[in-house]
Symmetry: C2
Subunit: 203 residues, 2 copies
């Protein structure tokens, strides 16, 4: 057990400053945006000295990138790994966004940072591609004729709903879900040989 130091996460016997910093980032970056959240404020919210923060992260940029990486597991697998839904339902479940989500943080970061080379921007790109890929996988599972295309289309709908929700200050996901239902039904051949679809509620 003397070798548990130097884990990939770095910290070995402290009192969890890094986690508090990232947790505070999650909250503040969402509520106020990245640019409008200063390191002073962030450290105060995390109950961490600024010095400590800069020992864990070389700079704000790295902190932002790490903050974005923390989202993958929660949303992504939370939707796609549900075995209680048919593939088609899983595709639609991606549009059931809890109202606690003001705007996809990846879009926000890409817009706020405004630099495609920024590590966080690349992280956002990777995430968006991963989501589209998982949507495509599920689309394939649902028997879509062109799963990649459907996945890309659904991803576009999600992003559109997110952006529009932000600009209009009104939930746009139901509208996006309605479009998604149309696209899904159009993409899955009526003779679809998929495994578990039983009811169709198209209108």
């Amino acid at each position: 057990m003397t070798e548990l130091e130097k884990g990939p996460k770095g910290r070995r016997r402290g009192r969890g400053a890094r986690e508090r910093i990232l947790s505070a980032s999650q909250q503040l970056f969402r509520e106020q945006g990245i640019n409008r959240t200063g390191m002073d404020q962030l450290c105060a919210a995390a109950e961490v000295s600024k010095r400590t923060a800069y020992q864990h992260f070389t700079g704000k940029d790295e902190l932002v990138a790490e903050y974005l990486r923390r989202f993958d597991p929660s949303v992504l697998s939370g939707v796609f790994d549900r075995t209680d839904l048919t593939p088609r339902e899983r595709l639609l479940a991606a549009f059931d966004i809890p109202p606690t989500t003001p705007l996809c943080p990846y879009i926000a970061a890409a817009v706020e940072l405004h630099d495609p080379q920024h590590p966080a921007s690349q992280c956002a790109r990777d995430y968006k591609k991963a989501v589209a890929a998982r949507l495509a996988d599920t689309a394939r599972e649902a028997g879509a004729a062109d799963p990649e295309q459907l996945g890309e289309q659904l991803a576009l709908l999600i992003d559109g709903a997110a952006a529009r929700t932000r600009v209009l200050n009104a939930d746009a996901f139901p509208a996006a879900a309605a479009i998604a239902a149309v696209l899904i039904d159009n993409a899955i051949p009526a003779t679809a040989g998929d495994d578990r679809r039983r009811e169709e509620v198209s209108s």
Copy 2:
């Protein structure tokens, strides 16, 4: 003629500082974003002294709002007033975005400013609603069963393409246009009995 002063635009015999400021805003806010463009840089680009800029605009906030208001005529009417296209083609023409458009400035402003109360944010909301309304009008013209819904859906597609283009650094408008075509065809009854379809689409 002694009373031509105090026109709605304010300036009466100067050498056009206000126009230069707004023109420079147009360019810089797009290229660099709003937050990353300082007033110093902006005034330098506009060849205007900072003092003059603050005599025309009470602050950066007002300048940003005015900058957004300058977009309405160009894009909006440039697409919808084309009489050489059928209504259906006009709806699709909204997705023909010249590559010189990095991201819808309204979305960018709403994200960057991060304050729904900001005058520019309200301006963005108004614009988005106006676009949706014009899309709905055109949809009605095209004989859509539910024009409002189709207009809202197309607007969502446009915003999704804009956001996705920004995040992925790749043009997403063709994909959005493909979806739009599907939605339009789904929304317009094959037996379209609207008043103004005289041109038999060159299908």
